[in-house]
Assembly symmetry: none
Homo-oligomer: 225 residues x 2
DNA sequence: AATTAATCTTAAGTTTTGCTGAATTTTTAC
DNA sequence: GTAAAAATTCAGCAAAACTTAAGATTAATT
């Protein structure tokens, strides 16, 4: 569950972020309206917490733009103004809920639960597509030409690390850390073995894995755009 | 648009009725819980404004009864208590919104607009259907080919968490949090045991639970079935 | 308050799956 | 052509997940 906060008050933004993170949400935040808008449009957020009173762009303009883009994102408005006209206007513009400042964190928490419960299951495609391959970060699967490559945990993690670092050579040490965490390690040969089996599996599906060897340095995925 | 008010304070009920009538709604009202319940069940109300603290019947019992009857009626809770637990419980019991007393009429007005907006867009999300299985979020039951699988609370919660997150692998830690809350935990083995019994129960009904294991990561429900 | 019923947790045994490290072969760079 | 690096293979081992049942909690009932 990813949440975006657009709020110019640094202290409020900070405390919201900390509080929501503690509740298990993934939280991004910004104090700038136009930056916020582009984040909302590009990212896969389930929920936007939006302050109506922003310095640069108006909050309700952001809301309009998001709805125009037909984004499936719930919007909770924060408003310092306590005028009914404003609220109504905001809600009719496509907000799903609102809170007037000041508010208690508990209050916000409950409203979030409510919104999430309501929300249609947002099928946010956190997938990385490279050539004929598609890596599903939620299902932890590598698809090759539509078929599941059936990777083991370590095989998958290797691919995930390299796919998410497309265009960079990743050394065996980094890969080891990615697999085992920073307090443990995986032998270089083990990594080679995993890559070998992974390559074999995708070859069996008819495609070569786009992970290449950079002799003496590590492995990488060519970035083609 | 017909609205039903169940609220024992005569003065509040009166003023609400007048205010909402002036806004163009058709309003019925009662101060008695059981009368209110039968009205809600028989009449064609779009919205119920329900006080949780009623003298005769408990407000949350009314809510449960309405949801059990599968009535398509939005419920806005009025609560004097300001405790988060209560709110959460109320919302999870099937309420659509809530207000704590005292509140301004403007506040209520906006929430009504919000609920109505939702109503027009919303599909009924009280049930999640996956294959031969149907999860009733209001009744807290898993149905398999029409028959109740008779899950215990924790078994149900596991299924609920995975069904509402279909298409995502959920790690044991998240599941633990879902069962026990963020300040407590459930051992991984306990989760395994619950899943085991759940699978057994549905197998006894003739169907395999569509919850699969993603070794090394957690459990998931495949998206399209 | 005591008893019972229901559910949850723990632990141990079992099964399944995946990882590792050594031996071998292949590739690459000089 | 040679040496170093990488790829491959596989058997033995280790870890993860499943199952079951018994003991511990909790909730319900008398």
């Amino acid at each position: 569950m990813k949440i975006l906060i657009i709020e110019d008050s640094t202290s409020l933004r900070r405390s919201l972020k900390i509080g929501l993170s503690n509740l298990g949400f993934t939280v991004d935040d910004t104090g700038d309206g136009s930056e916020g808008l582009s984040m909302a449009l590009s990212g896969s957020y389930s929920l936007l917490i939006l302050d109506l009173m922003l310095p640069s762009v108006d909050g309700s303009s952001i809301l309009k733009a998001i709805r125009k883009a037909n984004k499936d994102i719930r919007v909770l408005i924060l408003s310092a103004r306590d005028l009914t006209e404003d609220k109504i206007e905001g809600l009719l513009n496509g907000a799903d809920d609102y809170l007037t400042k000041p508010f208690s964190f508990d209050e916000l928490h409950v409203r979030l639960l409510c919104l999430m419960r309501r929300g249609s299951l947002n099928i946010d495609n956190s997938k990385i597509i490279i050539g004929d391959f598609s890596l599903d970060l939620h299902l932890k699967q590598l698809h090759c030409n539509g078929k599941d490559a059936n990777l083991t945990p370590n095989e998958y993690k290797l691919v995930e690390c390299l796919f998410t670092n497309q265009g960079k050579v990743i050394c065996p040490e980094k890969l080891s850390e990615y697999l085992a965490g920073q307090y443990d390690a995986v032998a270089k040969n083990s990594i080679e073995a995993h890559l070998s089996t992974t390559r074999k599996k995708t070859r069996a599906l008819g495609y070569d894995l786009p992970i290449k060897t950079k002799r003496g340095f590590g492995y990488f995925v060519e970035s083609k755009l």
